[in-house]
């Protein structure tokens, strides 16, 4: 562990210290990020399709609003489950500390959830014009809701791996990837093939950009910071996280890109759906690895 920095002449070995405190943010936080990516991402996709394929998505309003509502609730549920004192969640709304991304995000996510509930109501009542106006504001709010987790990770001064410009890009790309993938799956016969092709382009490009950023970090991150180099050893050396990291990269990004190209050449919706499923599964793995590895490093 972190042996790259240890000089043979020094040969320093810790012989007494407290145990490393396990994983502080576990898989619950992975699910949190994954569900939020779907919840906000599918709103981005509805907004995009309304402008590019308006006829195709006119029957998608209610479905999309319900999917977003459900996944944002899953996100909030897992956020709550991760608290050691979940019954004190209300403290955030009574004693908010505005420098904290958690506090700001909680307010934004709550407002977002309210707008989604309103969208469901409007879609149910078939008030399409009002729905489209509210959707604009919901989409705008979805941007900071997507990004605030990146801000939270960047506020973790101890975890050098999580840098704000990179994490914010990755959060947005995750939302676009998950949103497009989920929209392909729930679109069914309601979406035209052309609309699905557009979603495939978003999915493929998001996967490509996210993959490029991860590879850039993989290669160049260790050159900039000792701590990043030490963390990267968990995916560069032998061990479960190396396997998980590459499994995630293949399932979330490389295979979906390949299958999207195949689906375009063969005009196969089945292959497109396979790409979507893989992207959703792989995204959870990728997010989990990136969440866990900085927590394995001793701080003392």
């Amino acid at each position: 562990m972190a042996a790259h920095e240890i000089l043979a002449a020094t040969n320093a070995v810790v012989t007494l210290d407290v145990a490393i405190p396990g994983i502080v943010w576990p898989w619950l936080v992975t699910v949190n990020m994954w569900a939020k990516s779907i919840g906000t991402g599918i709103i981005f996709m509805l907004f995009m399709l309304q402008r590019t394929h308006p006829d195709s998505v006119k029957n998608m309003r209610l479905t999309t609003a319900i999917v977003a509502f459900v996944f944002i609730n899953i996100f909030l549920l897992f956020t709550l489950a991760d608290l050691h004192q979940p019954f004190r969640m209300w403290h955030i709304f009574v004693y908010p500390h505005w420098t904290s991304a958690i506090a700001v995000g909680s307010f934004m996510a709550s407002a977002f959830l309210g707008l989604l509930a309103f969208l469901i109501l409007l879609a149910w009542q078939k008030k399409d014009d009002t729905f489209d106006k509210v959707l604009l504001w919901t989409t705008l709010l979805a941007i900071p809701v997507t990004l605030y987790t990146a801000a939270l990770m960047a506020q973790c001064t101890a975890r050098e791996l999580w840098q704000m410009p990179t994490e914010s890009a990755q959060m947005m790309l995750a939302a676009l990837l998950a949103g497009s993938a989920f929209m392909i799956l729930v679109g069914g016969n309601k979406l035209s093939y052309e609309a699905k092709k557009s979603l495939g382009v978003v999915l493929g490009l998001s996967a490509l950009m996210a993959f490029i950023i991860y590879m850039s970090e993989y290669v160049f991150g260790p050159m900039k910071a000792e701590e990043v180099a030490a963390v990267m050893e968990y995916i560069k050396g032998d061990g479960e996280y190396r396997i998980m990291f590459w499994l995630g990269q293949w399932i979330a990004y490389l295979l979906p890109m390949l299958f999207i190209l195949l689906s375009r050449s063969s005009k196969s919706e089945s292959i497109l759906k396979l790409a979507a499923v893989l992207a959703l599964v792989g995204l959870a793995i990728v997010k989990h690895v990136w969440l866990i590895i900085p927590q394995l490093l001793p701080m003392s």
């Binding site: 562990m1 040969n11 320093a12 701590e227 927590q295």
Partner: protein, 212 residues
């Protein structure tokens, strides 16, 4: 007033008296520590030595834990102490993730974050922190950094070239200093952690105090 701490590592002999005093004073539960002394063995036999480094909250001027806390459970006192209100803490563990010094833990009894408070309750009664009182060699020096006549200010003046903080690159401006520290004692990446090399059992991981 800005209270600060300085540990003279030339003097520390690793007796762990400070650890025990802290445990007793603050009723710190089993498996958790507000203050602990890290041992690092350096060199190859027979040219070896053991370093002792007391580690506690650094009471940073620019504290990441205070910034990330969503409910201000972690907050500054007027005297510079970064204090914690356990009644307000929601247990999100953001502070545990943010602290670059690994100084914050989840108390398994209260399910809230906890850490060294420089014995704020004793300081409020004009008493020294328990660890300072217990130290047999006066390696712990505590006082007002704003007062040029305080012991800690004088100590920093006299040892200017040898005063260090942990992880200065993080920009946290710790109010906790070391004299006589080196890379091995202050940089966690400069030493190995090998199972079986620990004095009192394996250096391994603990489940976080809580429900995970």
């Amino acid at each position: 007033m800005q209270l600060g701490f300085l540990v003279d590592l030339h003097l520390c002999m690793g007796c762990k008296g400070c650890e025990i005093a802290c445990k007793v004073e603050n009723e710190v539960p089993l498996s958790t520590w507000r203050l602990r002394v890290k041992y690092v063995d350096v060199g190859t036999f027979p040219e070896t030595k053991r370093t002792f480094t007391p580690l506690r909250c650094n009471h940073c001027e620019n504290a990441p834990c205070e910034r990330i806390c969503p409910v201000s459970a972690l907050h500054y006192l007027d005297n510079g102490i970064v204090n914690i209100d356990k009644e307000r803490c929601i247990g999100c563990a953001g502070c545990v993730m943010a602290c670059p010094y690994g100084a914050i833990y989840i108390d398994p009894q209260t399910q809230t974050a906890d850490k060294c408070t420089y014995c704020a309750h004793r300081v409020a009664s004009s008493m020294m922190p328990a660890c300072v009182v217990a130290c047999p060699v006066q390696a712990n020096i505590f006082g007002d950094l704003d007062d040029p006549t305080s012991n800690i200010s004088k100590y920093i003046q006299v040892n200017q070239s040898d005063v260090q903080v942990r992880k200065p690159e993080k920009g946290t401006n710790p109010h906790h200093y070391y004299v006589g520290g080196g890379n091995v004692s202050l940089n966690p990446l400069a030493s190995q952690r090998i199972d079986g090399y620990s004095l009192f059992g394996k250096i391994t991981t603990l489940p976080v105090g809580g429900h995970h």
